[in-house]
C-alpha cells in the first residue's frame, strides 16, 4: 500500500466515517484552511521584507525589518552588543540540554546535575569579570537568557522546597506542620507581583548596612519561595493519593519514617503528580515575565522596551507573535516531556 492509499484510508476512518462526521470535518477543515492561508499570506506573501518603518506602514503585511532591527534587543535585552555571543551561546546550551532531556536513557541524577551546572555556568558566563571575560553587571542581563535562568533555578529550587513543605505539612511535629501550613497559605494568598515587590523593595531594608544583594537574586529567591508553595500543594496531592497500606507495609518491614518516605511514598507520589507538576512548571515559565515590575527585563520585558522605540512605533503584533512563538516552543516542549515522563514512569506497570 502506498502513502496515498494509506492516508486515504486514514481519512476515511477518522474524518469521513459517517455523513455527520463528514460535514463536521469539512466545516472545521475549511475554517482551519482559511485561518492558515490568511496567516501565511500575512506573514509571507504580503509581508514587507526590507525597508524602513515607513515602507512597513504603507504595507499591510508582516513587518520583517522591524524584527531584524529589534531581534537582539528582544532576545537579549540591554546586554552589550559586542559581547552578545555570550547570551547566544547560553541559549543554545539551554536548548541542547532541553532536547537531551527528552532521551529517557539520560533521566536520572546526572541530568539534574547537568541542569544545575548549566545554571551556574550561565550565571558565571553572563557576568564575566574572570578569565578575561568582560564584567557585565546583572542589571543589564535580559531577554531570553534571563527568562531561562529564572525558570531553571526557579524549578530546581521550588521542586525540592515543595517536597519538604508537603512532607512538613503532613508531619506529626506540630510546630513544623504549622510553619509549613503558614508559609504555604501565606504565599498562596498573595499575588506573585507583591512577593516580587517585597523581595525587591522590603528585603534590602532588613539586610545589614553595606550588604548588597543583586536584584536578580532577590527575584530568583522570590520565585523559588512562591513556586515552592504551589509545588507543595501539588506534591501533597500525590502524597494523599498513596494508600495508608503502603506506609504500614513499609513500617512493618522495619523501615524508618525517612526511609519510608524516600523509598516507598515519594517515588510513587511524585510520579502520580507529573502532569500537575509540569503545569505548575509551565506557569512558572510564563510568570517569569512579571519580573518587569522590579525593572528586570526578561523576554517579555525586553520586547516591551523594543516597542518603545519612536522610529518603530506600531509593530507590537509582530513583536508579540515572535515572543509568543518562543514561549510556545519552550512550554510545548515541557508538556511534551511531561507526557513522555508520564508514560515511561507510570507507577503501575502492566
Amino acid at each position: 500500500m502506498n502513502f496515498g492509499e494509506r492516508s486515504g484510508l486514514w481519512m476515511k476512518k477518522n474524518l469521513f466515517s459517517s455523513p455527520k462526521e463528514s460535514i463536521v470535518s469539512i466545516i472545521l477543515g475549511s475554517i482551519i484552511f482559511a485561518a492558515i492561508s490568511k496567516l501565511l499570506n500575512w506573514m509571507l506573501l504580503s509581508a514587507t521584507w526590507t525597508g524602513s518603518a515607513e515602507v512597513c506602514r504603507a504595507n499591510s503585511g508582516f513587518c520583517w525589518p522591524f524584527l531584524w532591527e529589534k531581534m537582539s534587543l528582544i532576545l537579549f535585552g540591554l546586554y552589550p552588543r559586542e559581547y552578545l555571543w555570550r547570551p547566544i551561546l547560553t541559549v543554545i546550551a539551554f536548548v541542547v540540554l532541553m532536547f537531551m532531556s527528552f532521551d529517557k536513557k539520560r533521566w536520572g541524577l546526572n541530568l539534574l546535575i547537568n541542569w544545575l551546572v548549566l545554571g551556574f555556568w550561565t550565571l558565571f558566563f553572563l557576568r564575566g569579570g574572570m578569565f578575561g571575560l568582560h564584567y557585565i553587571e546583572s542589571d543589564s542581563w535580559g531577554g531570553l537568557p534571563l527568562t531561562l535562568l529564572l525558570f531553571t533555578f526557579g524549578l530546581l529550587g521550588a521542586y525540592p522546597l515543595g517536597i519538604f513543605l508537603a512532607l512538613g505539612r503532613r508531619s506529626d511535629l506540630i510546630i513544623i506542620k504549622w510553619i509549613c501550613i503558614g508559609f504555604i497559605e501565606l504565599i498562596r494568598g498573595v499575588p506573585l507581583i507583591s512577593v516580587l515587590f517585597m523581595a525587591s523593595v522590603l528585603f534590602p531594608l532588613f539586610l545589614p548596612e553595606g550588604v548588597v544583594f543583586e536584584k536578580y537574586w532577590r527575584a530568583q529567591i522570590a520565585f523559588i519561595l512562591f513556586m515552592g508553595a504551589y509545588m507543595a500543594e501539588v506534591v501533597r496531592g500525590g502524597l494523599q493519593a498513596i494508600s495508608k497500606g503502603q506506609t504500614e507495609a513499609a513500617k512493618a518491614l522495619g523501615l524508618s519514617s525517612p526511609q519510608t518516605q524516600i523509598f516507598i511514598i515519594l517515588p510513587q507520589a511524585l510520579r502520580i503528580v507529573i502532569p500537575p507538576t509540569v503545569s505548575t512548571a509551565i506557569g512558572l515559565f510564563k510568570d517569569t515575565s512579571l519580573v518587569l515590575i522590579i525593572a528586570l527585563f526578561d523576554l517579555l520585558g525586553s520586547t516591551k522596551s523594543a516597542l518603545k522605540d519612536s522610529s518603530w512605533l506600531g509593530f507590537s503584533v509582530e513583536a508579540y507573535v515572535f515572543v509568543g512563538l518562543i514561549y510556545y516552543f519552550f512550554c510545548s516542549s515541557l508538556s511534551r516531556l511531561s507526557r513522555k515522563m508520564e508514560r515511561e514512569l507510570s507507577v503501575v506497570k502492566r
Binding site: S243, G245, Q246, E248, A249, A250, K251, A252, L253, G254, L255, S256, Q259, F263, I264, P267, Q268, R271, V347, V348, K349, R350
Partner: protein, 243 residues
Amino acid sequence: MDSIISMNNVNKYYGDFHVLKDINLTVKPKEKIVLLGPSGSGKSTLVRLINRLEEHQHGQIIVDGITLNENVKNIEKIRSEVGMVFQSFNLFPHLSILENLTLAPIKVRKENKASAEKRAMELLERVKIADQALKYPGQLSGGQQQRVAIARALCMQPKIMLFDEPTSALDPEMVKEVLDVMVDLAKEGMTMMCVTHEMGFAKEVADRVIFMDAGQIVEEDNPHQFFSGPKSERGQQFLSQIL
C-alpha cells in the same frame, strides 16, 4: 525465655471507643495462634499492636524481650523481627517483585545486595513464583501477590509472622495457593498469629484458637475443643453462623 509475645492488661481506645479490653495473652516460640471472632471484635487491632502499627494506651506488651513503648529504635527493632501479611497485600507497585523482597534487608539490615537477592530468590522459589521475580506487582494475580507478600516478610528472617486476614481479598480459587504456603510455614516451626476466617486452616495448623468478641478474649482453647463445642454462648453463636 518461655514467651515470645506477652500482653498484660492491654487496653486500647480509639478516642472514646474502647476497642480492646484487658487483653492478657502469652505466645510461646513456635506456637501457632488463630484469632477468630465477628468483625469489629478487635482481632486485627490486637495483631497490629504487636508491631505497633497501633498504639495501646494501658498495659504492657513485650515482644522478643523488648517492651513496646515510645522508643522509636525499639519499635523499628521489633518490626524487623516481626513479619506481617496484610489483607490487601500492600506490595510496593513501583518496585519489581525482587526489589519488593530485598528493599528492607538492604536498607534496614544493611545487608549486601547479592546475599539479599540470593535469599529472595530462594524464598520466591519456595512460594513458587521465582519465574516472576522481575515483573511488577500489577502484573501478578491476587494469589501470586499475596505469596510475594509472604516471601517479602520472610526475607527479613523474622521470628514471628502476623497474618491479618490474608485470604479475605482473594478470589475463591486463589485462597488455597496462599493457605498452602502458610501451612508449609507453620510446619517449619514459625511462630504465627493469624486473623482468618478459614476454619479449615485453623483446624489444621492452630495450636490454640482465640475467640474474641467486643474487644475481649472470650475463649481460648485448642482447635479441636473449640470447633467441637465452644464453652461460651457467643462462641457457639459465632460457629453456628459461619459453619
